[in-house]
Symmetry: C2
Subunit: 203 residues, 2 copies
């Protein structure tokens, strides 16, 4: 088994943090995304969408999409449960995982990709107006998220889950997108500090 890894980019990092929380070690194949290594023929042959990470099993089976790779490991190593437990618990993690993706990670990514000069060759055409339109989307979601977090420790409840990983990485991604968590979002800031203090955050 080997994991084609993309370094600092958010999606590869989601899988590394997930594996660190599970205590699973998988051999990494580093790919230099800064040099567009994810568009090289070796990666394209594995994933025609030319995105990372990519997991290759010993029999050659290929899995792409960060959350699908994480779910594969969750099925093989159910403890600690990072996709929730029980019907309602699993549904709630899925709900919050998706809210973190669609209402935080995605607007932050769009702001970064459509505004940052380093993304000019990545996002064609770069449309600054669309990047700017995403900034308030992220901030409006943070206000809602802050109210929800007032009554619990983690994103989807009282247990750490993959939704916390996605959320933490989305917040980290705000910096290069030139966004910041508003000071009044005290619950978000408290939660972020707690998840950043976990050893997995270094992965």
């Amino acid at each position: 088994m080997k994991l084609y890894d993309g370094g600092r980019a958010p999606n590869p990092r989601r899988v590394r943090v997930f594996l660190a929380e599970k205590g699973i070690e998988v051999p990494l194949v580093p790919v230099d995304m800064g040099a567009l290594g994810h568009k090289a023929p070796e990666v394209e042959a594995l994933n025609p969408l030319m995105r990372l990470p990519v997991l290759v099993l010993d029999d050659g089976t290929v899995l792409t999409e960060s959350v699908a790779i994480c779910r594969y490991f969750e099925e093989l190593h159910p403890e600690p449960a990072l996709f929730g437990t029980g019907a309602l618990g699993r549904a709630r993690v899925e709900m919050w995982q998706r809210r973190m993706e669609f209402h935080l990670m995605m607007p932050v990514a769009q702001a970064f990709r459509h505004i940052h000069p380093a993304m000019k060759e990545w996002e064609v055409p770069q449309i600054a107006e669309w990047g700017e339109a995403n900034k308030p989307k992220a901030l409006e979601f943070l206000a809602i998220f802050d109210r929800e977090l007032g009554s619990r420790s983690f994103v989807a409840g009282d247990e750490f889950s993959i939704a916390d990983i996605t959320g933490m990485i989305a917040i980290d991604f705000m910096k290069p997108a030139r966004l910041a968590v508003p000071e009044e979002c005290t619950n978000v800031l408290r939660w972020y500090e707690a998840v950043k203090a976990r050893p997995s955050a270094e992965a």
Copy 2:
């Protein structure tokens, strides 16, 4: 239990088709999204993100996000399995479900929301350039999807899954987005005809 439903919109329909495939009946609360009923206080109190569908359990617990609602029913009624079986099967459904969402449903939705005159009050600001930029993304993905579908019956393998539901609804959504599946995508057209012929497609 009741399901706040949004009629013809893609996400509410995903859940209805899923329930039809499972043979589960849930009482629906119709919401007129055309009249912005999803932004009414009753819906906002359940889902501060003001999106549909919303599932309310008998004890008042609220679940939002189509795929989270579907997963809840999958956990309660595992047969027929629509999220895959076994570690690899489940990961593969997740991978294709996400590919369908991020590389087909989402670009089609962006093209629709940023170009269609009826969406002017829904997507503010409407940025036609961004809508247009999404059209080739959807078509490029269809070419890749067509090659993959050459070797199997359904999106994620030889069994029907939630990834087929997402894919079918994304293709249906191409019409109001003024997009069409290219004639040369014969595998996509064959697969689409097969999933549209299932009774669940009417849900």
